[in-house]
């Protein structure tokens, strides 16, 4: 046993990702991993650690959370997040448009209200009462995401005309034709040396999503979950993750079928969700870590107390 931490910056990475888009994200993963590791070494609780790391990821505009969140079909941002610890305390928020750090508001819901989940106007009102940092919504919107939305809308139009093939330009990072972006949700899981763990996930959701659409991220048991067995944060296609209750199932397989963390996580990703829709990071109470995915790639990083660490994008067999 010992501490362990893993974080992700989204599953579903285009194989054609050019270096100028890859390197800032790799650097961010490296930085966030370091932040998390130092916090664990300084005996911060796993709950504090995952919140801290996800705040860093939210503040980085290269990921689909906080600043850099993808846009709804109306060109707005609606951010959501969830945090949970191994005592099964949890907090979640959806439909945020001005809150700098959704994950911190989720934590406040958990700790300062008798509820678990607040959304839209009610969540924004709570944020004001709590005095959390809010900014004008335009601060979250990046030109990259405006472009992404434009391409998603164009692809939808092309797709409606099924006599035309959809052109794919491999030199440009593009969302897939159905509006799914290749830019992901962020998340972090951590366990201390005593079996206490926590999970946190944050996102802007799907490119071109309908206003009011809620994905897997804020749903306890779908995108985020923690209990005495493990902590899990998932990323990918929200609707598939909800249907498969991905995060809960990893823990359930460990508890009810006696599978190891690695076996449980691999099973859920490979057998329970369609190919190309899901990735996750998870840690067990005993300090193990796993980061499986069934997409082409997943931005991820992990470290354990015995000195192991890893930062990666592609599947293990293709690492160089």
């Amino acid at each position: 046993m010992g501490w362990a931490i893993a974080l992700h910056g989204g599953a579903g990475v285009p194989l054609s990702l050019p270096p100028e888009r890859r390197e800032p994200r790799e650097a961010a993963l490296r930085h966030c991993l370091q932040v998390g590791v130092e916090a664990l070494k300084a005996q911060r609780t796993p709950l504090d650690v995952v919140e801290l790391v996800v705040r860093e990821l939210e503040n980085n505009p290269n990921f689909n959370a906080g600043r850099g969140s993808v846009l709804t079909t109306k060109g707005s941002v609606e951010m959501e997040a969830c945090i949970m610890d191994s005592t099964k305390s949890c907090g979640a928020v959806s439909g945020l448009s001005t809150v700098m750090n959704a994950i911190s508001l989720a934590r406040l819901v958990m700790e300062k209200t008798p509820h678990i989940y607040l959304a839209f106007d009610g969540a924004e009102a709570f944020a004001k009462e709590q005095g959390v940092e809010t900014v004008d919504t335009s601060n979250f919107i990046t030109s990259e995401n405006i472009e992404r939305l434009k391409q998603a809308k164009e692809a939808n139009r092309v797709q409606l005309d099924y006599t035309q093939p959809i052109q794919t330009d491999p030199t440009k990072e593009k969302p897939t034709a159905d509006g799914d972006s290749q830019i992901g949700t962020v998340g972090c899981v951590a366990v201390d040396g005593k079996g206490n763990s926590a999970a946190a996930t944050s996102t802007g959701g799907l490119v071109n999503k309908m206003v009011g659409r809620i994905g897997d991220t804020p749903l306890v048991g779908a995108g985020t979950y923690a209990n005495s067995y493990c902590a899990v944060s998932a990323t990918g296609q929200g609707e598939s993750i909800i249907r498969a209750t991905v995060a809960r199932d990893v823990a359930a397989l460990m508890e009810y079928k006696g599978l190891s963390l690695k076996e449980a996580a691999a099973y859920v990703v490979e057998e329970c969700t369609p190919k190309g829709t899901c990735g996750l990071v998870a840690v067990s109470a005993t300090g193990e870590v796993t980061m499986p995915f069934n997409t082409a790639g997943m931005f991820r990083a992990c470290a354990t107390e015995d000195g192991y660490s890893e930062i990666a994008i592609w599947p293990p067999s293709t690492q160089n």
Partner: protein, 332 residues
């Protein structure tokens, strides 16, 4: 192929032992009526997903329980409704939250499942989708009943003395629907009865049809005096509602406890991963997954069984199976 259809309905877990007998009788009549509606539909080979929607629409339309008309009021005195529906084969699902003008939330949840690319829509986005889909819309005050206005008034008076929601509280009776023995020393009364008598009574229905297909649906106005924007377990797939190839589950009770326990999914997980049969799975989850929380659930299996369980004082429920078994109950 299934072994006969089965159906269960509920109108909330956590019932005051001193509930006036008139209310008891009205509740039982409503449960029986909804059960019979579902039974007729099943006998004419309607599919499970259609039956659960039909029955929950009936429960929403009747002002007795806490869904649709008759929903508990938010702290602002308005109604914000939520619901979810899940179709066992392929585990398709749809959910809605924050509805203020949609006459039948469960039907909008169904449309999210069938007609949108998403699984869950909320607040103004959900209302806009409702307009686009042409579902029946009404003014928010259609949903508000005298009874619920009275309860909100009492709740607010109590709040002024009892607690400020910004301070973390655990297990305070007002915020839960746990009633009767052990919840708290409640001095909150209406018409001489503890407030919790009228506390949130989420509704739900689970069905397995004669083809062995399972479906579940849950609908609610949520907690009395809730913060605007508060979402409970009812629209959360895996918490308040779940259906898959082996079973369908709908829960009711303390929303936060149900979410923490991912109750509905756990029944199915325990069946799939531990091989427990339906009633044992329900009992296991109620016993092991609720900690201090109070809740109940109804469930059916793909093999035609029906089951229910609760760890509080009573749950409004009804169940029936194709072989002629039928029962409406409130207490243990």
């Amino acid at each position: 192929m299934g072994r006969g259809w089965a159906i269960a309905v509920h109108g909330g877990a956590g019932v005051d032992p001193n509930i006036p007998s008139q209310r008891l009788e009205e509740a039982k009549k409503l449960l029986a009526r909804c059960l019979n509606l579902g039974i007729s539909a099943l006998n004419s080979s309607m599919s499970a997903i259609d039956v659960v929607e039909l029955v929950v629409r009936e429960l929403e339309t009747d002002p007795m329980f806490n869904s649709g008309r008759g929903s508990a009021l938010t702290e602002k005195g308005t109604v914000e409704m939520e619901a979810s529906i899940m179709d066992g084969p392929k585990r398709r699902c749809g959910a809605v939250s924050g509805l203020t003008t949609v006459k039948n939330p469960i039907s909008l949840a169904r449309l999210v499942m069938d007609k949108s690319p998403h699984s869950y829509l909320a607040f103004s986005g959900a209302e806009e989708f409702a307009r686009q889909q042409g579902v029946e819309l009404v003014e928010n005050d259609y949903f508000i009943t005298e009874e619920n206005l009275g309860m909100l008034k009492l709740a607010k008076e109590a709040n002024a003395i009892v607690f400020d929601y910004r301070i973390p509280v655990v297990g305070l009776g007002l915020e839960t629907c746990s009633a009767g023995a052990g919840a708290m020393e409640s001095t909150l009364q209406m018409n001489g009865l503890p407030l919790s008598v009228y506390a949130p009574e989420t509704v739900g229905c689970v069905v397995v049809d004669d083809q062995g297909r399972c479906a579940a649906a849950t609908s609610t106005g949520g907690l009395l005096n809730k913060m605007s924007g508060r979402i409970g377990d009812s629209p959360l797939i895996g918490s308040g509602t779940y259906a898959c190839d082996v079973c369908a589950v709908s829960c009711t009770g303390e929303g936060e406890a149900i979410i923490r326990g991912t109750l509905a999914r756990d029944v199915a997980a325990v069946m799939e991963y531990k091989g427990l049969p339906l009633q044992e799975a329900v009992d296991y989850v109620i016993k092991e997954r609720l900690d201090e929380g109070k809740a109940g659930m109804i469930a059916v299996s793909s093999t035609g069984e029906v089951a229910y369980g609760f760890n509080c004082t009573g749950m409004f429920r009804g169940c029936a199976t194709q072989d002629g078994f039928m029962e409406v109950g409130i207490w243990e």
